[in-house]
């Protein structure tokens, strides 16, 4: 196992490469997931504001 992790002495280069690959793609994947949720939250907030204004006008 330690021999596998050592990567023939190139551990730093090999594992850093795989880590960069994983971290960059994870960030790339999560960013739009969060953006979509935020956008929908904004839509809900605007609907609530418009609903409140309509109620005030009717009162």
């Amino acid at each position: 196992m330690s021999q596998f992790l050592d990567m023939g002495g190139y551990a730093f280069y090999v594992w850093t490469s795989y880590a960069v690959f994983a971290v960059v793609l994870l960030a790339d994947y999560l960013a739009p997931v969060l953006r979509r949720r935020r956008n929908l939250r904004d839509v809900r907030a605007r609907m609530a504001r418009q609903g409140a204004r309509r109620r005030n006008e009717n009162a």
Binding site: F4, M7, G8, G9, Y10, Y13, V14, T16, S17, Y18, V20, F21, V24, L25, A27, D28, Y29, A31, P32, V33, R35, R36, N39, L40, R41, D42, V43, R44, R46, M47
Partner: protein, 251 residues
């Protein structure tokens, strides 16, 4: 004659239809990407033998080369979408082109960083102004230029059109990157895997490479569809289908 292209795109190009389509496809694409990616990583890191010249350092190839392929493939896909957006003015094609750019930039960045991490132990330098490296760096700048230009406009459709135009011009760089190792005999090694003719690689090294290529392709679909969904919700925020969606998600 070529009317079926806009007709087909028009049908799928309706935002609520595509939103649902993308939502249905995305989890499958992601699952496939994770499974094939894990198999490819196992094959590349564990099963494949060490290289006779480069030892274990060559194992960077299993992410470096698929990422490099994706950096070109996504640029090409972005160019096609940009062309469709400019010619037929289809809103969804604009979204696909603009949302492909950050994914392409991510893969180009990975390619440059892993290449650097591979170059240091093998060439003795993190960076050199070799033709392949330089043209790949230009590719990153093109992606960043497209992203920057898109966001530089107040009106998003105007920004998308300007950025699509830049993306289209930048397509000339794609063959330059691809053929740079043949045109200029510099430090970067030539192609190992060939579409035509035999590949210069052991089968035990080839299959993890091709499997990782499949994984990155699936990943692109998953990421792109997630991005397009986020974008459609913002773009169509005043429409009834988005309002219904917003209410539905709280329930």
């Amino acid at each position: 004659m070529a009317n079926w292209i806009p007709t087909w795109l028009h049908r799928l190009g309706s935002p609520p239809t595509f939103y649902r389509f993308a939502g249905a496809v995305r989890p499958w694409a992601l699952a496939l990407a994770l499974i094939t990616g894990a198999i490819a990583a196992y094959g590349g890191l564990v099963l494949a033998p060490a290289d006779y010249q480069q030892g274990d350092a060559y194992r960077i190839i299993f992410i470096h080369v698929p990422s490099a392929w994706m950096s070109l493939f996504i640029y090409f896909a972005m160019g096609v979408a940009a062309f469709i957006a400019l010619v037929w003015r289809i809103k969804l094609a604009e979204v696909v082109a603009m949302e492909s750019a950050p994914i392409g930039a991510a893969f180009t960045f990975i390619t440059l960083v892993t290449g650097s991490l591979w170059g240091k132990p093998m060439w003795g330098t993190w960076w050199t102004w070799d033709a392949r490296l330089t043209s790949e760096l230009v590719l990153l700048f093109l992606y960043l230029g497209v992203i920057g230009l898109f966001h530089a406009f107040e009106d998003r459709r105007q920004g998308a059109r300007a950025a699509a135009f830049l993306a289209l011009i930048g397509v000339v760089n794609v063959p330059i990157v691809h053929f740079s190792v043949n045109w200029w005999n510099t430090l970067h090694q030539g192609s190992t895997v060939r579409l035509l003719g035999p590949s210069h690689i052991d089968a035990r090294m080839l299959w993890p490479l091709l499997t990782m290529m499949l994984a990155t392709k699936c990943y692109y679909v998953a990421s792109l569809f997630g991005r397009v969904r986020a974008d459609l919700v913002a773009m169509e925020s005043g429409k009834d289908w988005v309002k219904a969606l917003a209410v539905e998600e709280t329930a």
